[in-house]
């Protein structure tokens, strides 16, 4: 449990740290430091048990169906990393407090750093590999944020993007690898996976799994050929480089290599891939490091080389090599982090990192120089420093390996060569920076940094020395449990002494030291040579080229489909759907016609069907004449409602009928602002193509319907029919399904309707359209827009219509009707008032603002559900009771409240849409000045219509004006 807490402290603390920055520049650093110390304090109590050889595992189920759990483990190896992350994290926070300049946002920096720390802790402590992957991706993301911390610099942005692309791609591959691994092991828990090494290695999926996981490992740990992102990531602030890009994040790859070592190692594929990548990375990293003029560039390539060394050690695959690998992880973290910090101090003090400019700093900062020299000596592998010990072990393993393989000399030679270059670049780091003449045009006068900025470097350098001189007493116990954690077995015998007598490894060390000095002395011709080869095999350029290629390909594909024509795009979409559908009915698949006998049609049905087909075709044929086409469309809708009547769906028929009316009114209103006729499309070829596509789509839909209708029907509706009365208290099963059984769906749907209405309201808010000034025959509009007979009739009709609506609403639970239909009927009745009497007349007599109606409707619907939850039932459970009414005895279900919500939303949404459409007319119809005033009329009164506000802003004069109207076009 405390492991979860330790991971959560930095993650949840990140916003806290950002917040702390509001109180002062350094509060964020303090908060970050305190949180890190707290996380460390949470982990420390578990350590004695781990030192005693236990593995602590805690697990909380998260998504058990996917095999994902919040499971954490603490064994020796995880503990080693946890200590590295938290202790170096503390030092980096202290360092960064002095490093960041006044213009940098400390809150953002430390919050990102905490985010990273939590994610990294998550990786090393995760027991579930899916959880591990999640944290893995989080380190990629937080690394992106940290590299791009100086967002104004393009190199920072590019470096961050490259790091994210490369490590993100690797993470994706690793997800695949982990899924396969989990599949093979039958579990995503490391404890299970680690015990099944033999079975997994023998599995046929082993090789793809290995390749996928290694892709993740190599990208994260900057192994060849993915090494190129690390030097680009040096655009990050130096504390980030010290923390992420030397001590922790790039170690996540080798961490995973070590973690899965018992499972995946020991095969030829493992040896070839891991050793190969490690070997190449080791050598080219060391080689390129020598020729970098940028201090951090040198350190970056050196880091790549050392990561290659660690990878190579795990690739060798013997237990002793694993010991050397783990040991080098520790040593590299200490000396490289301190070197990065030293480089940051130099950068900070000199204003540049270019080694051609920085010379002779010994005179200005002897103390920092001494610290850097110790760390560099460790990096070079000089005796009495910790780097020497693990390098010696590495040489030893290289020689041993030569004894029983054929490519013996390669490894030995490569090891020595890398050693030579490591000595040479370490020497360059020291000699070029601290000696070698005088500084050249430094931007500022260098001097020693603030006292506390040196403390983190001192601590790390002291560790280098302590471990280098007294390894067995300092790092010994930790190394032992860590190795046990890696091997999942008792560690082999190894000696942590400095002196092992004269052996091959010592000779190699001496050759490397002497060779390194010689190479450095003869560096000038080498630099010239490197200059000539500069730009050949430039990995970042290759990456950019690849990226450009992918983007160009994507663009080409997009252009192929999207030629800037929606018609074309839609045609492609429909043809694709047709092709996909056609595959299902091409013989020799199942026959189209099923086994169910069909029923004979009666004459009336044939007549209706013929009429329907005819009007549908007519709508398509005469669509150029828009008004006629619209009337025809109305006929289609009415005929469709007849189909519903025929086939026992009275609710649908009523709904279709009322929706048809509002749809046609809406389209008529909209048509006013659109051209009367659709221009003929002159491209007959395209029309023919579209005709064929339409023919295909129609035939497809027909065949599909036919195939479905002639097949047996085995519905799940029996349950609803059986339980409608007993469970829902209503006999109209359709309504009971809507408000009770599937009430949650209905809630979603009325929410959609409400959102559509509000969206339309937003669309119309600032819209100003000019309508035509003349009618279709060229006459001016008739201003007598409210014919008295119609106005009087409609007013008389209103109470009757509302009564019908109430009736339909109340009976809905037992007979055809309900909230939807009643809502539509009400909306139609009210719209008629607008049409016949105008907006102002109507607005004076009823609520103008319809948003509350929608809102109250939704609230009632949700509240109905919530009440049943309060009573301990699932959301939207309904109850019902019998009510004695003077004239009748009927059942009253709580679902009627829900239906009321539905009713209000439907009324509100429909009216909102249509009324605002009408207001648009009011604004455009009258002559310009009066037109704007027309809408501001109602806006002048209290509780004014919000839709009119925009118009008022346009014309603040608020002149009294003719009534805005709602009237059909043409």
């Amino acid at each position: 449990m405390n492991l979860l807490v330790a991971v959560l402290i930095p993650l949840l603390g990140a916003p806290l740290v950002a917040w702390a920055a509001h109180f002062g520049r350094y509060h964020a650093a303090w908060a970050a430091g305190l949180l890190t110390a707290l996380a460390l304090a949470v982990v420390v109590p578990s350590m004695p048990a781990v030192f005693a050889g236990e593995t602590l595992v805690t697990s909380i189920p998260w998504l058990p169906a996917l095999g994902l759990s919040l499971a954490f483990r603490l064994d020796g190896f995880a503990m080693l990393f946890a200590i590295l992350i938290l202790v170096i994290g503390l030092l980096v926070i202290l360092y960064a407090r002095y490093y960041l300049s006044d213009s940098d946002s400390t809150g953002r920096f430390f919050a990102y750093l905490m985010l990273f720390m939590g994610s990294m802790l998550g990786i090393v402590l995760a027991e579930n590999i899916l959880l591990l992957l999640m944290f893995w991706e989080m380190t990629s993301l937080s690394s992106f944020l940290l590299i791009s911390y100086w967002q104004h610099r393009s190199d920072a942005r590019n470096g961050a993007r490259m790091a994210l692309a490369v490590t993100g791609l690797g993470g994706l591959a690793m997800l695949g690898g982990f899924l396969l691994l989990g599949h093979m092991a039958g579990s995503y828990a490391l404890s299970d996976i680690l015990t099944q090494g033999d079975a997994i290695r023998a599995h046929q999926l082993y090789t793809p799994t290995l390749v996928l996981i290694l892709l993740g490992v190599f990208t994260k740990s900057a192994q060849f050929p993915f090494h190129f992102w690390l030097p680009q990531a040096m655009a990050a602030p130096t504390p980030v480089s010290a923390y992420l890009h030397s001590a922790t994040m790039v170690k996540a790859g080798v961490f995973l290599l070590a973690r899965l070592f018992p499972v995946l190692s020991g095969t030829d594929a493992w040896s070839v891939l891991v050793m190969g990548a490690g070997l190449i990375t080791l050598v080219i990293g060391a080689y390129f490091a020598l020729f970098k003029h940028d201090l951090k560039g040198l350190l970056a390539y050196s880091t790549i080389s050392h990561l290659g060394l660690i990878t190579l050690l795990f690739g060798i695959g013997t237990p002793l090599a694993a010991v050397a690998g783990v040991f080098h992880i520790i040593n590299h973290a200490t000396f490289k982090a301190s070197l990065f910090m030293a480089a940051g101090i130099i950068d900070h003090e000199c204003g540049t990192r270019d080694m051609r400019l920085i010379n002779g700093l010994w005179r200005y900062m002897p103390y920092t120089a001494t610290l850097a020299m110790v760390a560099a000596a460790s990096m070079a592998g000089v005796p009495l420093f910790n780097g020497f010990l693990s390098k010696e072990m590495f040489f030893h393993e290289a020689v041993n390996f030569a004894k029983y393989t054929t490519w013996d000399w390669t490894l030995t030679v490569a090891a020595v060569a890398a050693g030579v270059f490591a000595v040479a670049y370490s020497l360059r780091f020291i000699h070029d920076v601290f000696f070698n003449g005088e500084p050249v045009n430094l931007p500022r006068e260098p001097h020693e940094p603030p006292r506390w900025m040196k403390v983190p470097v001192e601590v790390l350098v002291a560790l280098c020395l302590l471990v280098g001189i007294l390894p067995a007493y300092t790092v010994g116990p930790l190394l032992k449990v860590a190795v046990a954690g890696v091997l999942q077995a008792e560690p082999p015998y190894y000696s942590l002494a400095i002196w092992h007598g004269v052996n091959a490894a010592l000779v190699m060390s001496i050759v490397a030291l002497v060779g390194g000095v010689l190479v450095y002395l003869g560096r000038r011709p080498l630099f010239k040579l490197a200059q000539r080869w500069h730009g050949v095999l430039d990995a970042p350029a290759l990456y950019q080229w690849l990226l450009r290629g992918i983007l160009a390909l994507a663009r080409a594909v997009t252009r192929l489909l999207d030629v800037g024509s929606l018609q074309r795009l839609l045609a492609v979409l429909i043809v694709t759907a047709l092709a996909a559908g056609a595959m299902g009915i091409i013989p020799p698949h199942v026959p189209i016609t099923g086994s169910v006998p069909i029923s004979m049609p009666d004459a009336a049905s044939v007549l209706v069907a013929a009429a329907l087909v005819a009007v549908a075709l007519a709508a398509a044929l005469i669509h150029q004449r828009r008004l006629t086409a619209l009337i025809v469309l109305g006929a289609v809708g009415l005929l469709v409602s007849l189909i519903f009547v025929k086939f026992s769906a009275p609710d649908l028929a009523l709904t279709q009928l009322s929706v048809e009316i509002v749809t046609i009114v809406l389209l008529l209103l909209a048509m006013y602002f659109l051209p009367r006729r659709t221009p003929v499309e002159t491209d007959t070829g395209r029309r023919l193509r579209h005709f064929l596509i339409a023919l295909g789509a129609g035939s497809g839909a027909g065949i599909l319907s036919w195939a479905m209708l002639t097949r047996p029907h085995d519905p799940i509706s029996g349950y609803f029919l059986d339980n409608s009365v007993s469970g829902g208290g209503g006999t109209n099963v359709v309504n009971v399904i809507l408000v009770d059984f599937r009430g949650f769906d209905t809630l979603g749907e009325i929410t959609v309707l409400a959102l559509a209405a509000l969206g339309i309201y937003a669309l119309l808010k600032d819209l100003r359209l000019d309508g035509p000034t003349h009618d279709i025959a060229g006459r001016l509009w008739n201003w007598d827009i409210h014919p008295p007979i119609m106005a009087a009739l409609v007013r008389l009709l209103l109470p009757l219509a509302l009564l019908v609506a109430v009736f339909i609403f109340l009976r809905g639970h037992n007979l055809p009707g309900g909230g939807f239909i009643a809502g539509l009927v009400t909306a139609v009745a009210l719209i008629m008032q607008y049409l016949a009497n105008g907006v102002v007349w109507t607005h004076e007599r009823m609520p103008r603002n319809l948003h509350p109606v929608i809102g109250i409707g939704l609230l009632i619907a949700v509240a109905t559900g919530a009440v049943s939850m309060l009573l301990g039932h699932p959301f939207l459970t309904s109850a019902y009771t019998h009510v004695h009414w003077p004239f009748a005895d009927f059942e009253l279900a709580s679902a009627i409240a829900f239906d009321l919500g539905v009713y209000l939303v439907v009324v509100g949404a429909t009216l909102l849409i249509l009324v605002h459409m009408g207001l648009l007319h009011g604004a455009s119809h009258a002559p310009a000045a009066a037109g704007a005033g027309a809408v501001s009329g109602p806006a002048g009164s209290p509780g004014s219509h919000s839709g009119a506000d925009a118009a008022t802003v346009r014309d603040p004069a608020r002149a009294p004006a003719p009534e805005p109207t709602l009237e059909p076009a043409d």
């Binding site: 087909v613 026992s648 609710d651 659709t678 491209d683 006999t731 399904i737 309707l753 359209l769």
Partner: protein, 127 residues
């Protein structure tokens, strides 16, 4: 009877798709409406065709039509209205912003477009 309904769905779909592919917004909206009729009828038909047996529980009913597709289609009809309304508003908005009612915002068929002031529409050709 089944053949009739299949034919109706076929012709509604065909006409709807043809109108949907037209170059001006109004026919597209008409097409969308026709297509939604077709889809609603298809969904309704998944409950098969039952004559004279509405899903209202009573003691002497010989049987019932499948109520579930009916409930689904009922909300679908209302949602289709919301969608049609939204699309037509987009069409109006496009007309206001682009000065014409072509789906791509530019008349390309030599069609006689309304003489509305063309307002700025940057990057139109890029689309």
């Amino acid at each position: 009877m089944e053949a009739l309904l299949a034919g109706i769905i076929a012709s509604l779909t065909g006409c709807g798709v043809y109108l949907l592919l037209r170059a001006y917004t109004f026919p597209v909206v008409l097409g969308l409406t026709l297509l939604s009729y077709a889809v609603n009828l298809f969904l309704f038909a998944t409950g098969r065709l039952t004559v004279g047996q509405p899903a209202v529980i009573s003691a002497d009913a010989p049987g019932y039509a499948d109520p579930l597709p009916q409930a689904l289609v009922l909300t679908a009809i209302v949602i289709a209205f919301g969608m049609t309304a939204f699309v037509i508003m987009l069409a109006l908005k496009a007309r206001a912003a682009l000065g014409n009612d072509h789906v791509d915002g530019r008349p390309d068929d030599g069609g006689a477009d309304r003489p509305l002031p063309h307002r700025d529409h940057a990057g139109k050709e890029e689309a």
